[in-house]
Assembly symmetry: C2
Homo-oligomer: 233 residues x 2
């Protein structure tokens, strides 16, 4: 059991014996989202690292492809089965372990939270994924400077859109939606971590900056950060 399990004691006390296993990589944005959700729900889990760079990528080896045919992390293994895709995993967690809720009760609000999450998960993050950057470099001969400009471009225009979704909507509170963290915050914080890495502008996105600061004040987010993972380098 990883030392990052938020509450192994609590879970044992509730009598749930089957451990949750998370196949993860410390710097994967998608795995980071699921780590935050697990921590927010105080669910103990075993972190099983899959190294995306070692040996040509452990995620492309047969052992991992048996868990996830697309060769990606995260994968969650529970007593209900194997789950892939970070947003689908978090929705499952929210249905299987409803408290605290990561989606609002009202369906229009739920659609808003999902839309913010998907703006990040569908329209920003996939373009800066490791395998995409490897293709740009190896197949298209894109040099480091233009590769970084590519990353900054998608992060900048994507987060500028998310900033407007947040700043212009009265439903935004201390967090992306209201005053408690949701699925949207689980996606925003890892994306901002990536934005800082690639040197994208954040000073012109004050709502995002304020919300991320509120998130990073919470242990659930801090303990999920890449630097605090057992496989961090």
């Amino acid at each position: 059991m990883s030392e990052h399990s938020a509450s192994a004691g609590n879970v044992a006390a509730e009598g749930r014996a089957a451990p949750i296993e998370l196949y993860t990589y410390y710097r994967s944005s998608a795995a980071y989202r699921v780590r935050i959700a697990l921590n927010l729900k105080a669910l103990a889990y075993e972190a099983i690292p899959v190294h995306l760079l070692r040996g040509g990528g452990e995620q492309r080896q047969a052992a991992h492809l048996a868990r996830h045919p697309l060769g990606l992390v995260p994968v969650l293994h529970t007593d209900e089965g194997w789950f892939t895709q970070s947003l689908a995993i978090i929705e499952w967690l929210d249905e299987a372990h409803p408290s605290p809720a990561l989606l609002p009760a009202d369906r229009a609000a739920r659609a808003r939270v999902r839309a913010i999450a998907q703006a990040i998960a569908c329209d920003i993050h996939p373009l800066n994924n490791l395998r995409v950057l490897q293709y740009l470099a190896n197949e298209l001969g894109v040099d480091e400077a233009r590769k970084n400009a590519w990353c900054r471009h998608w992060v900048d225009i994507g987060l500028a859109g998310v900033e407007r979704m947040l700043a212009e909507d009265p439903r935004t509170g201390r967090f992306c939606h209201g005053d408690a963290p949701t699925l949207a915050d689980c996606c925003l914080v890892p994306q901002v971590f990536n934005a800082r890495r690639v040197g994208a502008r954040l000073d012109d996105k004050p709502t995002i900056a304020r919300i991320v600061q509120a998130c990073e004040a919470l242990d659930a987010f801090r303990h999920a950060a890449p630097a605090n993972q057992p496989d961090a380098e």
Copy 2:
């Protein structure tokens, strides 16, 4: 009201006056998903075209940015508000208009359907989006042949993964999950439409081919196809 409204009469008969408006582009894969979902639920809607290529892209003009800060289609407008992101829109439709259900009742099954949908919506489609291909050509000087190879690469490895998710799981039926169409089929059919356009291999993906054939036998899918839209060129 578009002639593609599946059942304007039914909706009027039920006394729901507020029309559903869909901001759409005939060739947008994400809009295509929502059109299928609306048709499966026999919901009448007004199709309002947003031309992604005309005038530098109508989706980037102020009128559309007011609807969707990221400047993308689809956008759905209903009496409950404005909704963006195709998967969030379809989940909202499923909650607001539960029959026929596009997600299974069992939560592990629901997670599987969402994972198939997201494998397409997060790991395949974003890489072949129009704006990405424009960046490859305009900013990185990637020629037509290498741009097409890029498209085929992501579609081919992505759909190969989806094929395994479908072929190796006994829960796959006539459709992606069981014997009725779900959110996963709403995503698969538009992705296969794109795959054909870029000349990706499909002959080595027999489960996908079989399911798409079953989908395309249904009016809900046929009426949603790009060629059958009012803005088709």
